[in-house]
Amino acid sequence: MLKKRIIPMLLLSQGRMVKGKQFSAFRDTGDPVSAARIYNAQFADELVFLDVDANRQGSDFEQLLNLIDKVSSECFMPLSVGGGVNSVEQVRRLVQSGADKVVITTAAIENPGLINDASAIFGRQCIVVGLDVKREDGAYRLYSHCGRHKTERELEEFIRDMTQRGAGEFIVNAVDRDGMMQGYDLDMIKCAKAVTDRPVLAAGGAGTFAHLAAAFQEANADAVVCASIFHFGDNNPIRARSHLLNAGVPMKLIK
């Protein structure tokens, strides 16, 4: 049986790891390579790296490539990487540096054909579409540019479109819940799950292990993306997995 996944997310800024609330007020949370090593030792199922400087000054793609190269030489698990990716060439360079999957967010809205092209070249399993979503006026509205620009796209039609274009999985991030540690937006995850057969990764809001269990058991998420819960507490993927196994969620067995 295919297992559910716990995926720590490492946000990057100027070569450091950071974490904010609602996509702003970023705090330094340490060295990303050290953090990746620790998550590897704690048997996280995958890692996601996102450069939050993308589309603003200070973004350094070469620095991101070097980081992934370093991490992939020590962490033997799937790595997803994104942040401002807007061309097939960038996808290629990330894959060559050791990324197994590439996360595309803003460019999926502005240039949807990129998903077709990248999926045809690298395979669907390589292309992850990220969605930054706010619940507004009864609709799930998509935001671009790291949550700063409101767009015309809505969650369900966008996921249907991206599924057809060859997206391999979706990270659905609730912008208003990001960093608040009050739980995922379960309705948002359910809506996403209802319109695609591709894996849906819940992001934005996890603060307790009960929140992780709810994402799996109530919203049928395929994976939970976690940041604050591991950065700012006495929690780690080993304890999270034990809790979820006890709650009856199928998780990877390692020993």
Partner: protein, 204 residues
């Protein structure tokens, strides 16, 4: 000990090299027939389409060198696409002949679930094999694939997995073994399999 990882233009081989390095062996990249003649152990990794892979092997004159390696009793491991190439033929993008080292056909996964089959999944072991020495039976490995190895002879099926249906994911015959999952992405248990392969004398 001379461990080679075959580079034939099918995907990133760096993670396999890094993983072998992490278990304390020194593997290097091989790409030409004369380089294969020197090896004790050969790993064929790979991500991509079956037909392209066989065409690349043929145009680099590697087919005969791979068969020579096997005939001399030296261990060979195929990983993911490299495992599928061990078959008689593949059906991805038209019917193409494979290396024909283990009788079977590589077919598209027709299961009740999304394809590709991506994620951590467990094995159903049918036979013991030296590469699984010291690896617990119930642990999970990382898979990414849309095609599977339909082995002709059950004696060549070391392990299967269950994903909507059961299908072979570890095949072996004498000094040849193939794994559908990615040991280089399967953390400690995957690394143990690579370590076991590096220490394998090719006998079962």
């Amino acid at each position: 000990m001379n461990i080679g990882v075959l580079n034939y233009g099918m995907g990133n081989i760096k993670s396999v090299l890094n993983a072998i390095d992490a278990v304390g062996y020194d593997a290097h990249v091989v790409a030409a027939p004369d380089q294969l003649a020197e090896l004790t152990h050969l790993i064929i990794p790979g991500v991509g389409a079956f037909g392209n892979a066989m065409a690349n092997l043929a145009s680099a004159a590697l087919l005969e060198a791979i068969h020579d390696h096997v005939q001399q009793g030296r261990p060979l491991m195929g990983v993911c696409l490299g495992m599928q190439l061990l078959a008689t033929q593949g059906e991805e993008g038209g019917v193409n002949a494979g290396l024909d080292l283990i009788p079977g056909v590589v077919r598209h996964l027709e299961v009740d679930g999304p394809v590709p089959h991506v994620g951590w999944n467990a094995l159903i072991h049918h036979q013991e094999h030296p590469i699984f020495q010291g690896v617990k039976k119930h642990v999970d490995f990382y898979f990414v694939h849309s095609y599977y190895f339909a082995a002709q002879d059950r004696r060549h099926v070391i392990a299967e997995t269950e994903y909507g249906a059961s299908f072979p994911v570890v095949v072996g015959r004498d000094n040849i073994v193939g794994v559908q999952f990615h040991p280089e992405k399967s953390q400690d248990n995957g690394l143990k399999i690579l370590e076991n392969f590096c220490e394998w004398d090719g006998r079962c």
